[in-house]
């Protein structure tokens, strides 16, 4: 265990200058969606930033940097009145104790991008590094230490980001809990103590809450007679003293945020809470210490301390529930990361050592026993086993992996032992990339969010205007004592109108939706993709690899009559083998998937593949080369005709093959037709159900293929697609998508190969299916980890469910305000004689946020209908 040479990650590639990249880093101090919008605005105007998105839900900023330095971004966040979250790690330095100048090392480390501070501790032979997660590349640290002439005695590892997040959340929950406890206790005590003060006051008769409390008042009078005997003035002073710490400590965050917003001329929910409670507090303080002002004007000197404490308590309660719910929304991420193995068994210097996976380097030979997790990505060197890759693809059946096959970290080895060579470790593994993708998607903003943000920015000032107007109307035209009524109404309107439910509506749904998708093998690359995927008209499916398995085989071989005699190659007893051999020799140099099928089939027959020279290929159509002194041409019928080959004898056979969904490939030797291969690519069993489901969703389904028309029509017929575009080169697929888009259609494209990448990028939503190539995944908006076409259906269903949730959330958040504000303003008073107490208003507000978050969490139970 661990008795191994410390291994250090390889040095960086040396590129670090003005580059385009995306950084994701934590932001602290946000208390609502408007804070996020404010930071986002500040980041966006920072020079060298192309785009920025700040997500209140994940408390993370995602910035597309184009030249801006880490310091610029940190400065921008601070300028907006917030700060970036930092973390610490410890570098273990060999012989630091005896180093002459540890401060040189400190300076070198502090200069690394993303590092805020470095403190060397020679006694512990360690350097404590404070850094901003997302900016720091640990490889830069390694280089800095090495360049400064020091040697690391252990590998550098950043803390587990999910664990870090959990700790931050825990701290937040603990902090909120204590603040809530104080506010809650004071609020309860204040309510009890206010009973004698409000007893018998006619003015309170209109208040809903006071009406509910009347029976309580009678009971309390019996239970605590001394309270009713106490001097009212002393009670008021006592309440003032108890309320002060609630405002200054429990409610501190609201006032600070409100003030920061005010300085930047932006108003948010904190402004409403801050102004509302401050108004109630000022009024009460005046009534306590200068009652003469009120009594002189014939008004009772009423106090509202209980309202201040309970409003703060209820809002903190809402925040607490919300914070815990937000913690649950990142559960999917935690589960993903939890999949990774903790240690790996590596073979070094002839011995077997168990090391933490952070210490595995590229080139290590790793040993995996049955039942163990594969720790990192690599290529099998020895042994054969079945691997459960369901975490990656969603497919439950284990796949056989032997020498030369790739294995992926976090998948489970089931039956045999294997050794493999590590090819990707750390943040390069497939799992790490998935996690990063999900993280970025969760932190991204859907276009619908921008609308919500803009509305919230206008909403708060308008509410403040409404509150002032209500105050004036009540003061001028309301019943006596007008000042009290007007104040109650002012505070209630400000409190009930908090737009926090609006701010939470979109990000929580996107977070839960993308997280749930990741669990089901559907990786959505952002809110924009999710929104686009929910509103599609046409879905374009690629044939090879999407509808078919993508592993064509030579199913038929037809020889031209008399070729056996003319060919004079290979064994005379096996003319078929000779033709296949010659074709395979040419195709061996081609990269076309059909070419691979020809080569494979020759190998499966035990045929040797001869050397070919002078290879020439025509993209997607055919190729020719010299083999054993003969000019061999392999390709489609049109290609051979172009090459001057008379394919007359095969015309009927070509049509016949195509009608049975088999791709005809002709072989000519020295300009004369020699044989015809029929390549079959089996249709995926799930494709029929998937196409039916796509049609049921109201989508127009279109098949595109590079194959000839007849094969395309045959395949389309088998899976139930009516529209086919055949003979398509990559540019042709893009043209079809552009044409549909020009006709006002919103188009999705599903494909897997490098040749589909341009179409995937051109479509409104590109879905890369299966174990698709990296290029396809890069170009796509949605990556489907399984090769099952039904996963595409799931992705669209998930998008629709998420957008539905967002719309519901926005609807309820607005509806609540539309109903709540007029009631708080007293519109029911002339009709029913009912007013809303500020305490009721704050409870309603807290409820609306919790409702929205809970509604989003329902997406966690989303299950696609087909899978």
């Amino acid at each position: 265990m661990g008795a191994v040479e410390p291994s250090v990650a390889p040095p960086p590639d040396g590129t670090g200058a003005a580059e385009r990249r995306r950084v994701v880093f934590p932001v602290v101090g946000m208390s609502c969606a408007a804070c996020a919008a404010r930071i986002q605005r500040q980041l966006t105007v920072t020079p060298g930033v192309r785009d920025a998105a700040v997500n209140f839900g994940t408390t993370k900023a995602t910035v597309d940097v184009d030249g801006a330095a880490a310091g610029d971004l940190i400065a921008a966040v601070r300028e907006a009145g917030y700060d970036v979250g930092s973390d610490t790690l410890t570098l273990a330095i060999a012989d630091l104790r005896s180093a002459p100048d540890p401060s040189r090392l400190e300076r070198a480390v502090a200069a690394v991008r993303g590092v805020l501070a470095a403190a060397a501790n020679p006694a512990a032979e360690a350097v404590r590094v404070t850094y901003v997660p997302g900016f720091l590349d640990t490889r830069d640290l390694v280089t800095a230490v090495t360049d400064a002439g020091f040697v690391l005695s252990a590998a550098v590892s950043e803390g587990d980001p999910v664990e870090r997040e959990r700790l931050v959340r825990e701290r937040e929950v603990r902090d909120l809990s204590w603040k809530l406890l104080l506010a809650g206790v004071v609020a309860l005590a204040a309510m009890v103590a206010s009973m004698p003060l409000m007893a018998g006051e006619a003015v309170r008769g209109a208040d809903l809450l006071a009406r509910l409390l009347m029976p309580l008042d009678a009971a309390l009078r019996g239970a605590l007679p001394w309270l009713y005997a106490a001097d009212p003035q002393s009670l008021k002073v006592g309440l003032f003293v108890a309320t002060l710490p609630v405002m200054l400590w429990s409610g501190r965050g609201f006032y600070l945020s409100a003030w920061r917003g005010f300085q930047h001329r932006s108003a948010d929910m904190n402004t409403l809470i801050g102004v509302g409670t401050a108004a109630a507090m000022l009024y009460s303080t005046a009534a306590t210490f200068a009652p003469g002002l009120f009594t002189g004007a014939g008004l009772p000197a009423d106090v509202y301390y209980e309202a201040v404490s309970s409003i703060i308590a209820l809002i903190l309660l809402g925040r607490l529930l919300e914070s815990r719910a937000r913690g649950r929304t990142t559960e999917a991420m935690r589960r993903l990361l939890g999949l990774a193995a903790r240690t790996a068994r590596v073979l070094r210097e002839g011995g077997e050592f168990e090391v933490p996976i952070a210490e595995v380097v590229v080139g290590d030979i790793v040993l995996v026993r049955p039942g163990e997790k594969i720790p990192v990505d690599g290529v099998v060197r020895g042994g054969r086993t079945a691997v459960d890759e369901s975490m990656l693809t969603g497919e439950a059946t284990p796949v056989v992996r032997g020498p030369g096959d790739e294995v992926v970290g976090a998948t489970v080895n089931t039956t045999g032992s294997i050794t493999f060579e590590a090819t990707r470790v750390g943040r390069d593994t497939a799992l790490a990339q998935i996690v990063r993708l999900v993280e970025e998607a969760q932190g991204s903003r859907a276009p619908v969010q921008r609308l919500a943000d803009r509305i919230a920015g206008v909403f708060v000032p308008v509410v403040m205007a409404v509150a002032i107007a209500a105050f004036v109307v009540w003061f001028d035209a309301g019943p006596s004592p007008a000042l009290i009524y007007a104040t109650v109404v002012l505070v209630s309107v400000l409190i009930i109108a908090c737009p926090c439910a609006m701010g939470l509506a979109t990000p929580t749904a996107i977070m839960v939706g993308t997280g749930r998708g990741a669990e089901r093998g559907v990786l959505v690359k952002g809110g924009g993709a999710l929104e686009a995927a929910a509103a599609l008209d046409v879905i374009v499916l690629d044939k090879t690899g999407t509808i078919t398995e993508g592993r064509p085989t030579v199913a038929e071989l037809i020889l031209s009559p008399g070729v056996a005699g003319q060919l004079d190659y290979g064994s005379p007893a096996d003319p078929e083998g000779a033709v296949l051999q010659l074709a395979a020799a040419v195709e061996n140099l081609s990269e076309h998937p059909l070419a691979a099928a020809v080569v494979r089939s020759a190998r499966e027959r035990g045929l040797e593949i001869p050397e070919a020279t002078g290879f020439r290929a025509m993209e997607g159509r055919g190729a020719s080369a010299k083999v054993a002194g003969r000019l061999v041409t392999v390709g489609s019928a049109t290609f051979l005709i172009e090459q001057g080959v008379d394919i007359g004898p095969f015309t009927d056979a070509v049509d016949n093959l195509a009608a049975r969904a088999r791709t005809p490939v002709l072989v000519a030797v020295d300009g004369a037709p020699a044989g015809l291969l029929g390549l079959a690519d089996p249709i995926k069993p799930s494709a029929v159900a998937a196409v039916r489901a796509l049609k049921a969703m109201g989508l127009q389904v279109l098949l595109v293929t590079g194959d000839i028309r007849k094969v395309g029509i045959a395949v389309a017929g088998e899976v139930g697609i009516d529209e086919v575009e055949s003979g398509m080169l990559p540019a042709g697929k893009v043209a079809i998508i552009r044409r549909l888009q020009a006709a006002g259609k919103r188009v999705a494209m599903v494909g897997d190969g490098i040749n589909d990448a341009p179409a995937l990028a051109a479509a409104d939503v590109g879905l890369a299916i299966g174990t698709g190539t990296d290029v396809a995944i890069e170009a796509a908006d949605v990556a489907l980890m399984s090769g099952d076409l039904r996963a595409a259906v799931s992705a669209l269903e998930l998008s629709r469910a998420t957008m539905r949730t967002i719309r519901q959330n926005l609807f309820w958040a607005f509806a609540y305000n539309v109903v709540g504000i007029p009631i708080a303003a007293g519109i029911l008073y002339p009709v029913a004689g009912v007013l809303l107490s500020p305490i009721f208003a704050s409870a309603a507000m807290a409820f609306s946020s919790v409702f929205v978050v809970t509604n989003s969490l329902r997406l966690r139970r989303f299950t696609p209908r087909l899978m």
Partner: protein
């Protein structure tokens, strides 16, 4: 009370105008792309 009402009404209208100007004006300026 009439004087008080007039005072409160005038102050209220001024306050509303100021709140709207103070918070909404920057939004418009931002959209126009002027430096803040």
């Amino acid at each position: 009370m009439t004087a008080a009402r007039v005072l409160v009404t005038v102050a209220g209208v001024l306050a509303i105008a100021w709140v709207l100007w103070y918070f909404l004006a920057p939004l418009g300026a931002g959209r126009a792309g002027r430096p803040r």
